[in-house]
Symmetry: C2
Subunit: 315 residues, 2 copies
C-alpha cells in the first residue's frame, strides 16, 4: 500500500502521475487529504483539496485552472453576482453537483469520509481518498487585516495581504478519519505530495496522532519539495513558510518534516542545497519536478517511488 | 391596488401583459402566489410558481419553456445525472442562484414572504409578490400509483398517471402570509389569473381566511378561464378538474369560484357556454385569451381590467 499526504493543485498533478505509473495498482493507493480549507459556500460543503485530488484522479480536473472541472461554465456564479450575492469564491456549474451531493450526504448523516468515498466511487476513482479528519479543522491566517479563514486569505484577498501566522482551529480536538493512521502505519511508502507545507500539509499534521504515526511508521517517508529555486510553483507557499520561520526552499521543506522524513525529492535546479539538506540528516534525491505534462508527472512519480525504495513490477 | 391570485406559467404570461398595461402603476400590483408545489430539491427550497411569476415580471422568463430563466444552461443538472443523483426535476444553472439565495435567506431566519420580497427586489420587480403563506402547504395528488407530491405527479410522471383526487397537506393549520388578506380586502379589483383552478389556485383558496376574504371583499373579483374549447392551454387542468367533478370548460372555472366570483373572462371560442355561465349568476366577458405575444398578453390584461371595472387613466 502506498499512502500520499495531499493538498490541492500540486498534489492532484502528482497523483495523476502516480496513477499513470501504478496503473491497475492504483487501487492500493490511499490519499490523505487536507480539509483545513473546507468552507461552507452558498450553503454547500466545499472541500477544495479533496475535490482537486478527486477530479485529478478522475481525469476531469481543469488543466488551465488547476481546480474545478475541465470545461466547466460559471453561469450560476454570474447569476449570483447579478443578484448581489457572495461571488468571490468561484464554483463552476458542473462542480456544483459535487458540492450539492456532498452536502446532501452529510445532511443525511454521512461522515465526511463516507461522503468522500461515495463521491469518489461515483467519479470512478479507484484510489482511496480519505479526508484527514471527519471533524472540522479550520486553517486561519493572521494578517494585518485580522485573522482570515484560509479561502478568504487565498482566494478573496488573492494572498496579497502579508501572512503573519497560521493556526488550525479545532485541530486539538479532532480525530484522524477512520483508516488514516492505519494507512500510514501499514504503508510500504508514505509520500508527502508537492504541496504547501504550512497550509496544505500543516493541517494534516496538526490532527493529533498523524504526526506521531509518521514518526513511527516503518515505511520510508519521502516528500517532494513544492519549492524550486526559492519560488513556489504556484500559490503563497513562500510567504507562509517565512511566517513559520522556515527558509523558502527545499531546505525549509526538509526542516518542516525533519522529525519524520526519510527522503527529500527536490528539483535538479536546487542541487546546491545538497549540503544544507544532508546537514538535517536527509538524503536528497534530485530530479526534474516541474509537472508540465502527464509524462513529467509520471516521471516525477516514478522518481519518488524509487527514492522511497518502492520497486515497481512491470506488468 | 390590483390584486392577482396566481399559479405558474399562465399567470406569469398574464402578469407580463398586466405590467405592460399598468406601466409605472405596476407598483400598485400585488400578486398572491401558490406555494403548494414548492419542493426541497438538492437541498434547496424551490418555489416554482413564485419563480415563474418573478421571472415573468423581471422579463427573464424562458419563453420556450414557460419556466426558468431565458437562455439558461443545465450543466449542473447534467453533472448531477452523471453522478447518479436525482435529476428528474430540471433546475438551470442561473436559476440555481435564485434557489440558493432563497435557501440561504430562509436558513438565516427569513420567512418565505421576506425571502420572496428580497429576491423580487434583487430582480428589480416593482410589483409586490406574496407567497400565499409562510407555512408549508403541500399539494398532493392521489393516483393509482399512490399519493404523489405535486411535482412528482406533474414533472416526474409528466401528469400521465390519472389524477383521482387532490389534497393540500398542512393547509388547515396554515396562515395567509402577512398582507394577503389586506390585499384582497382593500383591492379595487381582484383577478384570478388563467391558472389551473385545482392545483394552482386551489391551494391558495385552501389557506384558511383567503376564500372568506374573497367572498367579503367589496372589490370586483374577475377570473380568466385557462380552458379554451374544453382543453387547457398547457398542463393537466382538464384531468384535475374532472377529478373534482368540475366540467373541463369555462363553466367549470365559473363553478370552482362561484361563491366569490363577479366576472368571468372566457375565450371568444367559448361563447356557446354563455347560457351555462349566466345560469351560475355570472356575467361572462368574451375576448381573445390565447397569449401568443406581448401584445396579446396586454390586450387580455386590458380586457380583464375592463371586465373588473378598473378604469385606466392614460398617462
Amino acid at each position: 500500500m502506498i499512502t500520499v499526504l495531499a493538498g490541492g493543485t500540486g498534489a492532484a498533478k502528482f497523483l495523476q502521475g502516480l496513477q499513470a505509473v501504478l496503473g491497475a495498482e492504483t487501487s492500493r493507493l490511499t490519499v490523505i487529504v487536507n480539509t483545513g480549507d473546507d468552507l461552507l459556500w452558498w450553503g454547500l460543503h466545499v472541500s477544495p483539496d479533496v475535490d482537486s485530488v478527486m477530479y485529478g484522479l478522475a481525469g476531469v480536473l481543469s488543466r488551465e485552472r488547476g481546480w474545478g472541472i475541465d470545461g466547466d461554465t460559471f453561469h450560476c456564479l454570474d447569476a449570483m453576482r447579478r443578484l448581489g450575492g457572495p461571488a468571490w469564491f468561484s464554483l463552476g456549474d458542473r462542480d456544483l453537483a459535487t458540492h450539492m451531493t456532498r452536502t446532501a450526504l452529510l445532511a443525511s448523516g454521512s461522515t465526511l469520509a463516507e461522503a468522500t468515498a461515495e463521491l469518489a466511487r461515483r467519479f470512478r476513482v479507484t484510489a482511496r481518498i480519505l479526508p484527514m479528519s471527519n471533524d472540522r479543522v479550520e486553517t486561519r491566517v493572521t494578517t494585518p487585516a485580522g485573522e482570515l479563514a484560509f479561502q478568504e486569505y487565498f482566494v478573496r484577498e488573492r494572498h496579497q495581504v502579508p501572512a503573519r501566522g497560521v493556526r488550525f482551529a479545532g485541530a486539538e480536538s479532532a480525530h484522524p478519519a477512520p483508516g488514516v493512521l492505519q494507512a500510514i502505519a501499514h504503508a510500504s511508502a508514505v509520500i508527502i505530495a508537492p504541496s504547501n507545507p504550512v497550509t496544505s500539509i500543516g493541517p494534516i499534521l496538526a490532527v493529533p496522532g498523524i504526526r506521531e504515526a509518521l514518526r513511527q511508521t516503518p515505511a520510508t517517508v519521502a516528500a517532494i519539495s513544492p519549492i524550486i529555486g526559492g519560488a513556489a510553483v504556484s500559490g503563497p507557499a513562500v510567504d507562509l513558510m517565512r511566517s513559520q520561520a522556515l527558509p523558502a526552499s527545499a531546505v525549509g521543506i526538509a526542516q518542516a518534516y525533519a522529525d519524520f522524513l526519510d527522503r527529500l525529492v527536490a528539483d535538479t535546479r536546487d542541487t546546491s542545497l545538497m549540503p544544507d539538506i544532508e546537514r538535517l540528516g536527509l538524503r536528497p534525491h534530485f530530479c526534474e519536478t516541474l509537472m508540465t505534462s502527464l509524462e513529467a508527472k509520471a516521471l516525477l512519480a516514478a522518481e519518488t517511488l524509487r527514492a522511497a525504495g518502492v520497486e515497481l513490477v512491470e506488468t
